[in-house]
């Protein structure tokens, strides 16, 4: 098992974390401008693709996808995913210290929980080594 990651790989995990949270925030802002989409008006989803906030959000999420896929090529899914959750902490801290929003005791507790969760996996091995051909279970499914 690999226990250490190079600084470049930690940086990539930081990119995964930041692009996911910023992309989601931009999408949510854009969709709030587009308004409610009902099952009867699904075409509105394509109209949403013209909104600049949605477009920027999608570009951010494309960056997220590229870095996420690279991370998955050398680390386990259960190792990479908590790092994306750390993005929620970044958003909460940004909203507190940059936007000066009030953060309730529940949110601070939530931040503490996520930091603990990320700490648990960050201290462990990043990859389960398999003796047989990796991904073999999924190969059988397709």
């Amino acid at each position: 098992m690999k226990h250490t990651l190079t600084p470049e790989r930690w940086l990539l995990l930081v990119a995964v974390m930041l692009t996911a949270s910023v992309g989601d925030t931009l999408l949510s802002h854009g969709m709030a401008q587009v308004g409610p989409v009902s099952l009867a008006h699904l075409g509105l989803l394509f109209f949403a693709m013209k909104n600049p906030w949605v477009i920027t959000g999608i570009l951010c999420l494309l960056g997220f996808f590229a870095s996420y896929l690279t991370a998955l090529s050398w680390a386990d899914l259960t190792f990479v995913l908590p790092s994306t959750a750390f993005g929620y902490v970044v958003v909460a801290l940004l909203s507190k210290f940059w936007l000066h929003e009030q953060i309730s005791i529940y949110r601070w507790l939530g931040i503490l929980f996520i930091v603990c969760g990320v700490g648990f996996v960050a201290n462990g091995p990043s990859r389960t080594e398999h003796a047989d051909h990796p991904g073999v279970e999924l190969d059988r499914l397709v």
């Binding site: 896929l69 690279t70 259960t78 908590p82 949110r107 507790l109 939530g110 929980f113 969760g117 999924l138």
Partner: protein
Amino acid sequence: MTYVGTAETWATIIAVAGTAVAGDVLTAGAMRSIGDLDEIRAVSGMTGAIKAVVSSPIFLLGVLSMAASFFTLLFTLSNVDLSLAAPASASLTFMGNAIAAKIFLKENVDRRRWLAALFVCAGVALLAH
């Protein structure tokens, strides 16, 4: 801003999480089959790395699931409060992924990783308050 009933709210949230888990597990399995992208890029360049990824059928299936999840999320966000939809679907996705990674990817989800999944899940739920 909730425009739909409880059953439909949770049905869309579960649909977002279910398709997200399928997408994550399929792409993770594909990336593991393909191998270290940094090494592939060092040998055959960025084009070679992109070609290796997009020619994997498991990866394409994963992307289809992710696209389904994305559109379900857009649909959900327009009908359900972000403060409920985002943390609820993210929490469900974290737990679903830990279970699916153990079953399908045979990842070593030890006590440390279960605890991490539980803590992150609870943390995300608390952020909604």
